[in-house]
């Protein structure tokens, strides 16, 4: 919303306001946020009214004319011009030597074809104006002034080009401030100045509105009030200069007197107005109703609109003549031949207007205002103001009488006024009279303990709202900062977040960097990941109005997001990338959540790399994570049926039936789907499950008192036997004295024979109660050797 100071001065003494910058700061502080301000006319300097005293042809150029100009100075000024619409005696705008025109153009003395020229005669274009602003001007010649002015006058004063325009951002709770009057009220309250609003005076010309038009409001729910008046003997012409310049300052294009009046009143009162050409209202009857099935209307912009039955229309006896509150119809548009008009000033339901405007993709100044909900009490003053302006502009004769359909009258709201409670909420100690002064300046009426807000302040409903009114005028920044008094206590993370943060530290110290990816993915992700048709991961919660298919379902796995990021990095040839994400996934068995149960939101830790090692490097990473997790008693089990992973290079980390993690090399065909040309190793770790099973606090165990003995044993066995099996077997037979078994070599070769391998382990043995002797150790290894042969046909390699 723009505010012209030239207009503001009708209501507030602008001379009493501080500098524009200070004005803007204070208005922002009191709740009318200023986006910026502009000093109109600042871009024009040293352009004055000049009188053409004489003209003569340029001796060397047919198209040029040499003029002698009177600028009210001691000597005449000679200017050469290319224009041909000037005559001696004309008053014209003259840009003097050393002047500035809009766009930063500097005018300096020079010579044109050898003849000295000390300035320039200006057209409207050169002053950044159009014929809308100066209706009597020509587009392609010098502006011949018809204003009441004399030589030497500053052109900015002659054409009313000087103004201060402030741009406000109005919050949705204050639709009343989308008007000059609303902002003038705020200005007066903010600067403690009188606010002067005159009631519109309409003389009238006799006759009776009943002779022209009748109104029927069929859908009162969408139209709480409909007021209108009729003007006859309308003379369509340009509106006067003062009105045009004000409209222009507010960013509205002047059209003609009647249209300009509707726009002027909308800007001044915040009440949208519409003018219909009476001759095109069939049957002299206005009906306000929802559109009938299949009805259409062609709006002022020339577009035919298909209407639905929830859209409110203004109709005549037969057809729609406008979309209520959004845009008028082309059929009843004001034109140069219009003689009788109906001024409409109505109140429409904001939500209905918003939905209609959205559905049609048609947003107008008017719909934007209605959407926010307008004051029903405002229709009449605005309507009378429009008629007052008609009389002032001599644009027609206002017919007596008014139609005002207003079945449910506005009821004043009464709110308890309790200064103590207000002080208690704000942390202030204002006196009752200080509060009353502030509230009175905002036109609240206070009667003992009862406060009545003005009708246009629908946002004020209870004590907290009154507190805000007081706080903003008093100044938020004047409220002293305090520290709330409360019990001393330690804040912190939830245990789960603490746990997650611990794992995160491990991930980072292992060289992995964090990524953040979108929680919604494309449903195609599941195909890219090679998931089986019946995979439960395909059951993803669906967004009914996504931005696009790529972001249309909530992810059930974050592997796809990770692969996309790796692919991006690979495309940019970033070397050895190691990444992790604590990714939320959303698990439900119904994509629409129609049972009303929210999905389970789980946290997975995804870790992945390319160009940084192989499966066993990733296994080292998951070992470290599992070690930090506090979960014990898990094992790696080969997994051949996870279709996202390489069938021969995938494992799950599990205990009993619980799968804590899946780790492996991504299946080559999945990699191809993501255009990654290097092997990717990835682990998907269920953080919630780890957290649930994380062990109790750590307890110290005394250091061993007796030394350990190590024994190295190599076994020859079938290649198909896994190292894990061998280790388990060693543990089984070595018994309680075995501290650790470590693999240190795997060998295959001709000497061992086809299908055989040699696997070497180092066993650490210790007895907690005595020093083990060699004999003791030999006894244990003897058992192991026998057991290995018996269980797995693994023979000690000699």
């Amino acid at each position: 919303m723009n505010l012209s100071f030239d207009w503001l001065k009708d209501f507030v003494d602008v001379e009493k306001l501080p500098t524009p910058k200070q004005y803007c700061d204070r208005m922002t502080d009191t709740g009318s946020k200023v986006e910026g301000f502009e000093l109109l006319g600042e871009d024009i300097e040293n352009v004055v009214v000049g009188k053409i005293v004489s003209t003569e042809k340029h001796p060397d150029a047919d198209r040029l004319t040499i003029c002698q100009i009177d600028l009210g100075e001691s000597e005449l000024v000679q200017i050469v011009t290319g224009a041909d619409n000037i005559n001696a005696g004309d008053l014209v705008p003259v840009a003097k030597n050393g002047s500035t025109l809009p766009g930063g153009v500097k005018i300096k003395s020079g010579k044109l074809r050898g003849v000295p020229s000390n300035g320039m005669l200006c057209s409207i274009g050169e002053l950044n104006l159009t014929v809308r602003d100066v209706p009597y001007a020509v587009e392609d010649g010098i502006l011949i002034l018809q204003e009441d002015c004399k030589v030497g006058d500053d052109i900015r004063d002659v054409l009313n080009l000087r103004d201060t325009v402030v741009e406000f951002e109005i919050t949705p709770n204050r639709p009343d401030c989308n008007s000059v009057i609303g902002l003038a009220r705020e200005t007066a309250a903010s600067f403690n100045l009188p606010f002067d609003l005159k009631e519109p005076q309409v003389k009238g010309s006799g006759d009776d509105i009943k002779n022209y038009v009748s109104v029927e409001v069929r859908d009162n729910d969408l139209c709480p009030r409909y007021s209108c008046k009729v003007v006859k003997n309308v003379k369509i012409k340009p509106s006067p200069k003062w009105m045009r310049t004000r409209l222009r300052a507010m960013g509205v294009r002047p059209i003609n007197n009647i249209v300009d009046i509707t726009n002027y009143v909308m800007l001044e009162y915040g009440q949208p107005m519409h003018a219909f050409d009476y001759n095109y209202i069939d049957g002299g009857k206005i009906v306000v109703r929802r559109a009938a099935e299949g009805e259409t209307v062609t709006t002022l912009d020339g577009t035919e609109r298909n209407l639905t039955t929830d859209m409110l229309t203004i109709c005549d006896a037969k057809k729609p003549v406008g979309l209520a509150g959004v845009m008028g119809g082309e059929n009843s548009e004001i034109n140069d031949n219009t003689t009788t008009i109906v001024f409409e000033s109505a109140n429409f339901d904001g939500t209905s207007i918003r939905l209609t405007s959205r559905a049609l993709g048609l947003r107008t100044e008017s719909s934007g205002r209605y959407e926010k909900g307008l004051d029903t009490e405002n229709t009449l003053p605005a309507l009378l103001r429009a008629c007052e302006l008609v009389e002032m502009l001599e644009a027609g004769d206002v017919v007596d009488g008014i139609i005002d359909i207003y079945p449910v009258k506005y009821a004043e709201r009464k709110i308890e006024f309790c200064p103590e409670k207000i002080n208690r909420l704000l942390g202030l100690s204002l006196s009752r009279s200080e509060m009353v002064d502030i509230l009175t300046s905002l036109h609240f009426i206070i009667d003992c303990d009862v406060l009545t807000p003005p009708s246009y302040r629908a946002d004020v409903e209870q004590m907290a709202d009154i507190a805000e009114e007081i706080a903003r005028i008093y100044g938020y920044n004047s409220i002293p900062s305090t520290n709330f008094k409360c019990e001393v206590r330690r804040g912190g993370y939830t245990p789960f977040t603490e746990y997650k943060n611990t794992l995160e530290t491990v991930a980072q110290s292992l060289g992995f960097s964090e990524i953040q990816t979108y929680s919604f993915v494309s449903p195609k992700t599941f195909d890219l990941l090679n998931l089986a048709e019946d995979s439960p991961a395909r059951c993803a919660v669906k967004i009914i109005n996504p931005l696009g298919e790529d972001t249309s379902v909530m992810r059930t796995t974050a592997i796809g997001s990770m692969l996309e990021v790796l692919s991006h990095n690979r495309n940019f040839r970033n070397p050895s990338v190691c990444l992790y994400e604590f990714a939320k996934i959303y698990i439900s068995d119904e994509p629409t959540l129609s049972s009303g149960k929210l999905p389970e939101e789980k946290t997975n830790l995804i870790m992945a790399f390319y160009d940084n090692g192989d499966f066993y490097d990733m296994k080292g990473v998951t070992d470290a994570i599992m070690n930090a997790s506090g979960v014990v008693g898990y094992e790696y089990i080969s997994c051949t049926d996870n279709t996202t992973f390489h069938p021969g290079r995938c494992a799950v980390i599990k205990a009993e039936d619980k799968i804590y993690a899946t780790i492996g090399q991504i299946h080559p065909s999945v990699l191809k789907n993501y255009s990654i040309d290097l092997p990717v190793y990835l682990a998907e770790i269920d953080v919630n499950l780890l957290f649930a099973d994380a062990g109790a606090e750590k307890q110290y165990k005394p250091l061993p008192k007796f030394p350990a003995i190590t024994r190295d044993l190599a076994f020859v066995c079938d290649s198909s036997i896994e190292v894990g099996q061998l280790e388990k077997c060693i543990s089984k037979y070595a018994g309680s004295k075995l501290v650790e078994v470590t693999l240190f070599d795997i060998y295959t070769g001709e000497r061992l024979g086809e299908g055989k391998k040699s696997v070497a382990f180092s066993l650490t043995l210790r007895d907690d109660n005595k020093t083990l002797t060699d004999e003791d150790a030999d006894k244990i290894t003897g058992k192991v050797i026998k057991g290995m042969e018996y269980d797995l046909n693994a023979v000690l390699r000699s």
Binding site: R358, A464, A467, Y518
Partner: protein
């Protein structure tokens, strides 16, 4: 005899000077002090000396022996020192050759910014709590006093799963959950992901992160909100930071404010970052609306509270001078490794 002894001493001294390694020193020791050495030979030949002279010569010989021994010891130390010096010189390496990689991972700037904010509030006694991202409309809008016709409820602004369930558009529904499930005093912050139907560009993303704060207790006043946010701003952006409250409108707070901090680049003088204004808008705040307290089962006559919320990406972008939001979700290693 005496002269002979003196000669031996002088010869030994001269020879010792020239020695340059430990082996030579050992040979020297044998030559002069060994069993078949020159001094021993002289002592052995003392039988031909008169009885009066013998103790004098003997004493002199022993004295010279002891002097040579001292010299040998000194020389040994010197040689050892010089040998060590040579060894160390030979072992010199080029310390400017890059170190062997032990890479540390990097924290995403959104996470590190959130952590920083969290720590400040944890130190003020706030708990960090969590809530679901897929939420009930009732928690996201109704409980928070958003009017039924509020535009933010539109399908064009908010992602819906069905008419009752949506992707939360703000972290504020966690407020409603916390107030319903806990009795005051309440002092929490809730970081998390939120979703709005915005096309991706340099400053918009359909998913971003917010941080919500809520305090509810007896006698909480608006000055407390200012005091708390001042502590936050000074800790987050530097001790000289000032804050400014501007009246604003949010459905769930009353009075409501937008909060600016003095620009941490120019200190408030006006620069490119703050677009010449000297202030940067960083959060929205206000006193919890009595309707919200009531909706969550808290009596506004007895309790009051304040709430605030901020966009984490916005703060991260200001803090690290990141000019395009898309960089945060592209996760390019060249970007991530800068944090």
């Amino acid at each position: 005899m005496k002269e002979k002894l003196q000669q031996i001493k002088l010869a030994a001294q001269a020879e010792l000077e020239k020695l340059c390694d430990a082996d030579q020193l050992e040979q020297f020791k044998v030559k002069y002090l060994g069993k078949k050495g020159e001094l021993t030979a002289i002592l052995r030949s003392m039988s031909g000396i008169s009885a009066e002279e013998r103790p004098i010569i003997g004493q002199l010989a022993n004295q010279i022996r002891s002097e040579i021994e001292t010299l040998v010891d000194e020389k040994r130390t010197l040689l050892a020192e010089s040998a060590m010096k040579h060894k160390l010189e030979a072992e010199k390496i080029d310390v400017t050759i890059p170190g062997k990689k032990r890479p540390l991972g990097h924290t995403h700037p959104v996470t590190s910014t959130a952590r920083e904010i969290e720590k400040i509030f944890i130190n003020m006694g706030f708990d960090v709590v969590d809530g679901p991202e897929i939420e009930y409309v009732s928690n996201n809008f109704d409980a928070l006093n958003a009017p039924d016709n509020h535009p933010s409820r539109d399908m064009t602004d908010t992602f819906y799963i069905n008419p009752e369930i949506l992707l939360r558009t703000q972290t504020s529904p966690v407020q409603a959950r916390i107030m319903r499930d806990n009795k005051p005093p309440i002092r929490v912050i809730c970081p998390g992901r939120v979703y709005r139907s915005d096309e991706v560009d340099a400053t918009h993303s359909p998913m971003f992160h917010q941080m919500e704060g809520l305090v509810v207790d007896k006698n909480i006043v608006m000055g407390d909100l200012k005091g708390t946010l001042e502590v936050f701003a000074k800790n987050m952006f530097g001790n000289d930071t000032r804050i400014r409250f501007r009246p604003h409108h949010f459905p769930f707070t009353e009075p409501s404010a937008e909060v600016d901090i003095s620009c941490f680049v120019c200190g408030g003088k006006g620069c490119r970052l703050c677009k010449g204004e000297g202030w940067i808008e960083i959060l929205g705040a206000g006193m919890v609306h009595p309707n919200v307290l009531r909706n969550c089962g808290i009596d506004p006559e007895e309790y009051s509270g304040f709430a605030f919320g901020m966009g984490i990406e916005r703060i991260a972008m200001r803090k690290y001078n990141i000019d395009d939001l898309r960089l945060l979700y592209e996760n390019d290693m060249r970007f991530l490794s800068q944090f």
